[in-house]
Amino acid sequence: MEVAGDLRTAREMGLVACRQCMRVSPRGAETCPRCGGALASRDETSLQKVWAWWLLGLACYVPANLYPMLETRTLVSTQSDTIVGGAIDLAHHGAYGVAAIILIASVAIPMAKFIALAGLALGVRYGPQLSEARRHLLYEVVEYIGRWSMIDVFVVAILSSLVQLQALASITPGRASLFFALSVIFTMLSARSFDSRLIWDSDSGAQEHSPAPGQPQEDLTA
């Protein structure tokens, strides 16, 4: 692919790009002629949607940590563990590795996701502290990692369907599993609402760029 010359965005060229099939249309077009998708140069309500889902996600993440994730019944005892409580318990038993993995996967990564999403949205609103490439990488990571958090919910489901050994031992899902799943879903929706093109709009004052000199796409003038 040719990358010579200074490339310009569809917005700078007075065009609207389709995020689904990549076709460009003249500014003002509302549906894409190739794929029929809705067109918008930038999603104007993107940040509102990001914050709305973000808040919902955070609101569900709090009870996800306060309520028990698993309730374990054995012959001698009944135990209900929160996410952090379970990890501390494991650490007390000497399983530091597993405890660390649980803390990273269920606490550190969700928290990092909330912070990263808030940072991305604040960066667009108030001017970024990081370079475009950094913020883009951050966005890619958040977007990619989001769905993998669901693994916790699946593990709870597997454990509670498998460990049903009559009186010996049984595991049932706790209330936190529902809130954790909701939190993951809402954070995924928040990340997907973020219009990644907003990251690049601050790129070297691109929007102020006058369209006069340099027409890299020679086909257009033909």
């Binding site: 389709c18 076709r23 699946f154 597997i158 498998l162 050994l165 899902p173 529902l178 796409q217 086909d219």
Partner: protein, 217 residues
């Protein structure tokens, strides 16, 4: 380099539309490129954000259909067989996909439905849509009715199809239980392992641009 202000925006003729047809904009960062010659192209990557824009592969359509059918059959098979079983103190217990999804029944029935959708219904629906869209294309027939909507839906479902995440979840559950009880892989566990590889292969084989282009009438 040509000069002069934007001419494409003002021109609204068929010629301008044809010219626009030869441009693509990166969906992630909005940079505009001229579509290169697809025949000689390996893959096109955005110069700024490194998003893969075009990755055409010869006969990708047939391979995609074959993969999608295989995964579909595997999902059905994975539903029928247990994937893990444990034994402790003479009691054994199997877990299949259905029993796993139903683990949340009772107070958390919503979660049961959600889990079933994430690991069975949505992946299967996505593959069916893909087969529906691609079959007429590889036979050089006009696109199926509502093919554009079907492909758009299949793309929208992509992040919610979590069969491969569930497969990794099995491995995690196995590690957690291994010191408590004897855990044995059932037939479905191996199916899941193959499933993960095939799902990744399907996604890397799929060139969205080529499919959209062929759906254009």
């Amino acid at each position: 380099m040509a000069t002069g202000p934007q001419t494409a925006t003002t021109a609204d003729s068929g010629a301008a539309s044809a010219a626009l047809d030869r441009l693509i904009a990166c969906p992630t960062c909005d940079l505009v490129y001229t579509v290169p010659d697809l025949a000689s192209l390996d893959r096109a990557v955005c110069a700024r954000c490194h998003t893969v824009l075009i990755a055409p592969r010869r006969k990708a359509g047939k391979q995609l259909i074959a993969l999608a059918l295989t995964v579909l059959i595997l999902i059905v098979a994975a539903c029928l067989f247990p994937f893990l079983s444990i034994g402790a103190g003479g009691v054994t217990q199997n877990a299949s996909i259905l029993s796993t999804a139903l683990a949340f029944s009772g107070t958390f029935s919503i979660l049961s439905v959600a889990v079933l959708f994430f690991i069975v219904v949505i992946p299967a629906a996505r593959l069916c849509l893909l087969i529906y869209v691609l079959t007429p294309i590889i036979r050089d027939k006009p696109p199926a009715p509502f093919a554009r909507d079907a492909f758009a839906l299949s793309e929208a479902l992509l992040p919610w199809a979590m069969a491969e995440i569930f497969a990794i979840g099995c491995a995690v559950a196995l590690v957690k239980l291994s010191d408590m009880a004897d855990v044995v892989f059932g037939p479905a566990a191996w199916i899941f392992a193959i499933l993960v590889v095939l799902v990744v292969a399907t996604d890397s084989l799929m060139c969205r641009y080529s499919i959209w282009k062929s759906l254009e009438t």
